[in-house]
Amino acid sequence: MTPKIAGTILLDCDIGEIRRASVWLLDGCNGMDPTRLAELELAVVEAVTNVIRHGNIGGMRQAIELQLARQENSVKVTIKDRGRSIPEAALCASESVLDFDPDDIFNLPERGLGLALIREAVDRVDYQAADGSNTLLLAKSW
């Protein structure tokens, strides 16, 4: 089945916009299992927060485009921006940041949890950075 584009939204590069992203996502995924939808919302909020906090280049407030595509049993959210790419080191670190010792309180991670949570919250994550544009695809079964 060809994915059906359910909606697109343009966000300003402003931290207040994460709430607008949530409302837009919840509207577009009406009928999805609530727990799975909450996990997808978490991944989208983390991704948009990352772009706003770390992707801004020289203070330029680049717009962020979110696109929602629904299939029969899954939903895909594509997040595009033209800010700074996610560093390779951060992508690698996100694979192990949750491998902490729960008894070693003083070495618990306070930062860098966002990318790791995205990985945990959705079924598939694809990231591409090319020609000054970044595309993050998040897929979650319905």
Binding site: G16, A38, E41, T49
Partner: protein, 166 residues
Amino acid sequence: MGLMALAAGAPSLAMRRAGCVLLIPARFEDACCRGQPLVRQFCAEHHREKGWIILLREKDLDSQTKLLTLEMTRLDSIGTSALKRHAISLFEAGQDSLVVDLHAVEFIDSSGLGILISLLKQVGTRGRLVICNLQPNVLNTFKLSRMDRVFSIQKSVDEAFESLER
């Protein structure tokens, strides 16, 4: 003017006695939220008492233990820095143990988790931090992040307080 810039405004003595310690004056809501309709929506979600929007309530459970009840529905990147500053100031003032009631919180992300982790480190070996009343989606985020293995999580304030006495 930023939302949190006003959060440290001084509430009335009566409001402080009622345990409302982290507030935004509702009359400044428009100024706080100008150009940010979703921040305005965030403010509108919160309770109003005598013109104040309450983000946090505070109550002593005993001489060593304080209960912090969060009244915010979302613990994310918006509006949490004042909460962190306030909670850390409690420990700096000699507070031993905290019970954090998350009953109103419907959504938490890594920023919210980061604040709780930061508080846990502040408590260190001196006292204890217990969280309670987690809604299912919030508990799920603790599990996804594996923080359910780190925090003491209880079902209610009473159970949280009892767990401190064990």
